[in-house]
Amino acid sequence: MLHASDNYWVSGLVVLISLIIVLNVVIAQQGRVPNIRRIPGLNAIDEAIGRATEMGRPALMIPGITGLGVGTLAGLSILGNIAQSIARFGNKVILLSCDPIVTGVAEETIRDAYTNAGRQDLYHDEDVRYLTSEQFAFAAGAAGIMNREKPAASFLFGDFFAESLIFAETGQQIGAIQIAGTPQTEQIPFFLAACDYVIIGEEYYAASAYITRNPTYLGSIVGQDFAKLILISIVLLGVIGASIVQFGHYHAGFGHISVELQKLLDLLKA
């Protein structure tokens, strides 16, 4: 689907969902802040930070391997908040980046995290490292740094691809507590197999809301939940409609309804 005119039903739905999300963000920014449930994977972040501090070893962060997109920004937002907690304990963060633009934003994010925690003296420019933009060269570089510097905690939040298992398995081999989250659904099984905790699906975008309790994020989550209700309703209606169509094929009395519903389903699919 390249244009709205390809399917006005879907385009209308996108506009409706967008309006619901923006409306909830604005309502939350005006002071009506909602509450959201706790995400188990995020509880583990404090545990990982505490362990790294006790062991006197750094925490490693990788914000994915793509450029500055929505997924990377969400990852950096989570990593910035984690870095602030690490800075409060006086520990060191190593952030590895695969993209020059992301490196610049990551430097600002980590520096701000240390400044906000009142420990700017602990931040060093070489803690945020741009390695290379080549996928497997980056994977090799990151694995090498993990083996040499032995971080006690590893946070993988961003867009990952085939190299995800290299990071996760290397972290596992050096005994780091690993917490990961990615919007790339194909990589979630790899992280589940090799990491201690994994943030799945929309939890990845809800993580910042939970950590910061920022009204904008919380409002956005509520908007997303309303949108999810709409989508679930459509899916249920589709299932019921498709079932009636199938039923109508076998029972003559339902033939007319079946034909009309089939037309409606075809219209929605088009």
């Binding site: 923006v22 920014q29 908040n81 610049g104 390695l131 497997f136 060269a137 197999a193 929309e202």
Partner: protein, 287 residues
């Protein structure tokens, strides 16, 4: 204007090539200068307006009615994409500076592992030099003579090919191939039968693996294929059909459920960024 952002062939129009570089740099420093001169309280607004306009192009392009898959804004797609490429290209310099600063410092201090840093700097310079020579003087001769009783002709492009195809590409493949071993060790841990969940995972994985290989299908090939209504029911129990059922009726809906959530999260974040509603982290910083 449309042609201004099109790539220029250096060999055909060297003057225009350098002219665009100079103009691009002038525009960049001009924009930075203007941003520096503007009072702090207005900078966020300028950035918000440019962000909104940048996103508006794609929103308008999507919602404008299209005929035969195209609308009036589609012809500017490449121009806008090229602008993003140009802006992104400036940032590469930042990455390179960050990288070199770190490794030069390590070499100067002879810190532990300084040899690796030296290798990186030499490799970086080598690839940069031969990358440029390959682009602008590919056939210039570097060496022509006999080596190990063989006639050898070395040009800029052959050195670049040696470094890129013979080096980087092979190293990349070597790292990629290591994933097979990592998959084996991760699978071993994931499939160890320790709980009800891991037992279910192990069973499902076993069925899918057996359903995908010839040996697995032999185990249940005594069951009917289901070509006639009478045997249709029993065909469901053939291992390849159970594997397909697991993949299509169990795995796919779960993946789609996750995708729904992710897509909504992406849409929400994109809206917050586009409308400058984003708060927290680096977005609240004074610019």
């Amino acid at each position: 204007m449309k042609h201004f952002f099109q790539p220029i062939n250096f060999h055909e129009h060297p003057g225009a090539f350098y002219g665009h570089i100079v103009l691009g740099l002038a525009v960049m420093f001009g924009v930075l200068g203007i941003l520096q001169a503007v009072p702090r309280q207005y900078r966020k607004w300028i950035i918000a307006v440019f962000t909104f306009l940048g996103g508006l192009f794609y929103v308008a392009e999507f919602f404008l009615p299209a005929h035969s898959g195209k609308n009036s804004l589609n012809k500017y797609d490449d121009v806008v994409a090229n602008i993003f490429v140009v802006v992104g290209a400036y940032a590469i310099g930042l990455g390179v500076i960050s990288l070199l600063q770190l490794h030069v410092r390590k070499v100067v201090r002879t810190a532990p592992g300084w040899g690796n840093s030296a290798a990186l700097i030499i490799s970086f310079l080598g690839m940069t030099v031969f990358g440029l020579l390959n682009e602008y003087a590919p056939h210039s001769l570097l060496f022509h003579g006999r080596l190990f009783s063989q006639g050898i002709r070395v040009t800029n492009s052959s050195v670049f090919d040696f470094l890129f195809t013979g080096g980087i590409a092979n190293f990349g493949s070597a790292i990629f191939s290591m994933i097979a071993f990592f998959i084996a060790s991760a699978a071993y841990r994931a499939f160890r039968v320790r709980s009800l969940e891991s037992s279910l995972l192990m069973t499902a994985a076993l069925i899918i693996m057996l359903g995908s290989v010839g040996f697995g299908t032999i185990l249940t090939n005594w069951l009917p294929l289901g070509n006639d209504p009478k045997s249709e029911f029993w065909a469901n129990f053939r291992i390849e059909n159970i594997a397909q059922w697991l993949l299509l009726q169990v795995n796919t809906p779960a993946q789609r459920g996750i995708l729904f959530g992710i897509t909504l999260g992406e849409l929400a974040m994109a809206l917050r960024l586009w409308l400058s509603l984003e708060r927290g982290s680096y977005f609240d910083k004074e610019v």
